[in-house]
Amino acid sequence: MSLRFPAALVLSLVILFLIGPFLIIVAASFSAGDTLAFPPQGFSLKWIAKVFTVESFRQSFVTSMILAIGGTLVALALGVPAAYAMSRYRLPFAETVRTIVSAPVIVPGIIVGLALLRYVVVPMGMPITLALFLAHTALVLPYAVRVVSASLANLRSDIEEAAILLGSSRLGAFFDIVLPNIRGGILAAFILGFVTSFNQVPVSLFLSGPGVRTLPVDMLGYMEIVFDPSVAALSSLLAFLSMGIVLAAERFLGFSRYV
């Protein structure tokens, strides 16, 4: 069945509205001109090249990568056992635990960042980097718990009992039987957490100091001062990076099953 004309028109306009701006950014990053404009003035790779020479971008890129990878790994280390407890045990106060670990998704990030700065970083002298790391971990935790829980719900729980009756320990059954079967879900949670953390701004706004900034916050600051296409170039590069990761994950894992 093909669409009737009005439906096709609506859909085209919606897609144009959603994707168009991104295409304009991509086009603008290949501009030869010195200011951000569309259509681009000529073609060059100079803005793409410039991205790699800006010292603060390089630094904040590394910071963001460490936060996204490290924070997501810690969130998984906390979230996988919690999800397991909630799906396989009669956990006391299960609803309370679920609410607590998923609360960071409801409370606006800027408040989390400010609260940490004011009541943890300043009075306790906690290093900004550590606070940033903990905040990103808390932010990713709800996603880790939710995606891994969904993956566990799809796995029959009697296979663990079967393993135990064949002589496995509880821990052995988890590592030999459960883990291999929820690997896809864990990887999906990792990618979702990574993208969420990497693109996150509000949590990190207040948690920056000299030389400590996440990449998106750094980009916001740069945009206020310089109006050249290098931020566009950087945006395009990041977009292609995250699209590449997600598409690869979709291709090899069927990522969208878990989200």
């Binding site: 029959r156 009697d158 296979i159 009992e161 079967a162 393993a163 135990i164 009756l165 064949l166 002589g167 496995s168 320990s169 052995g172 030999d176 039987i177 291999p180 079967n181």
Partner: protein, 340 residues
């Protein structure tokens, strides 16, 4: 230890929180016996099986196996095998690795492992499937893998949860023969749980009928089928006409049956539809419905004291709906029930 009480449950009480699923259950099972736990869902049969496996800790009572008290022994050291209703095969492992899983944990490797796994797979006719993954197998094949996986561990007791219920009619027959053969060859003690009386009757040496967390009756298939001792068991194995005896008379519910025969000293009598003698006798009823069932016709009769179900040989002439038929309830062929 005697062979008659190889597995002994003594005062076993099981429950989740405040709800008691099984109460003070006593049961002994002999070595090499094939026993069925039969009952409707919620009767406690599955809970009992899980307790024997060690997946559920009893709140009171003991379980003894082969002379040792295993009540507090962890599930992974009990030497009890369980074939799950869903088969519970490990989806990420090959058939070979599924069957070899427990053996590897025992420390077997190399040729010793391979020989045992192959022998196990050969015995269930699946040697050619060692390299496949479970999702590539049919339901019947998966169940055989699950059986082999348990049997290579040489368990003292093999538990089976509804072993035939997920199979179609032809495969049921195959699996029944298979289980009887495995039992004959290895002499393993087998306990299986089922809600299907036909399954229990055809497979078991002895049947334990359970109801509401208690044992209702224990007996051979013949005893259970022909001499149910309670209304519940009678109803469960297909006695569709069940009467109580009060004041020397026969009652269907609250209606007295106008039958002047001497009644046995029992609390009730139960008749299969097949034993109701249709065509002549002191009682009569109006045919409400009749349906053809191959070798018999099944009648539903409305009588002055209630509904009676009767089967008659299909070669006899039909009594059409609306006609009045005489019939008899031959007391000698009834099952005598004790008080509930």
């Amino acid at each position: 230890m005697s062979d008659q009480s190889y597995l002994a449950l003594d005062g076993l009480t099981l429950g989740y929180g405040d709800t008691v699923a099984v109460e003070k259950l006593d049961l002994t099972i002999g070595k090499g016996e094939l026993v069925a736990l039969l009952g409707p869902s919620g009767c406690g049969k599955t809970t009992t099986m899980r307790a024997i496996a060690g997946l559920l800790a009893p709140s009171a009572g003991t379980i003894r196996l082969d002379g040792a008290d295993i009540t507090r022994v962890a599930a992974n050291r009990r030497q009890v095998g369980l074939v799950f209703q869903s088969y519970a095969l490990f989806p990420h492992l090959t058939v070979f690795d599924n069957v070899g899983f427990g053996l590897r944990l025992k420390g077997l490797k190399g040729a010793a492992l391979r020989d045992k796994v192959e022998a196990g797979l050969t015995s269930v006719g699946l040697a050619a499937y060692a390299g496949r993954k479970p999702p590539e197998l049919s339901g019947g094949q998966q169940q055989r893998v699950a059986l082999a996986r348990s049997m290579v561990m040489e368990p003292k007791v093999l538990l089976l949860d509804e072993p035939l219920s997920n199979l179609d009619a032809r495969l049921r027959l195959d699996m029944r023969t298979e289980l009887q053969r495995v039992q004959a060859q290895t002499g393993v003690t087998m306990i299986f749980v089922t809600h299907d009386q036909a399954e229990a009757l055809s497979l078991a040496d002895r049947i334990v009928v359970m109801r509401g967390g208690r044992i209702e009756q224990i007996g051979t298939p013949e005893e259970i089928y022909n001499r149910p001792v309670s209304r519940f068991v009678a109803d469960f194995v297909g006695f569709e006409n069940i009467f109580s005896i009060r004041d020397g008379r026969l009652w269907l519910g609250d209606a007295a049956v106008p039958l002047s025969a001497s009644l046995p000293a029992a609390a009730g009598l139960a008749f299969r539809p097949r034993t109701v003698a249709l065509g002549a006798g002191p009682l009569s009823g109006v045919v409400r419905g009749v349906s053809f069932a191959g070798s018999t016709r099944e009648y539903v009769l409305d009588t002055s004291f209630g509904t009676i179900r009767a089967d008659a040989d299909a070669s006899l002439p039909v009594h059409p709906p609306g006609t009045t038929v005489a019939f008899d309830l031959p007391i000698g062929q009834a099952a005598c029930l004790k008080a509930d």
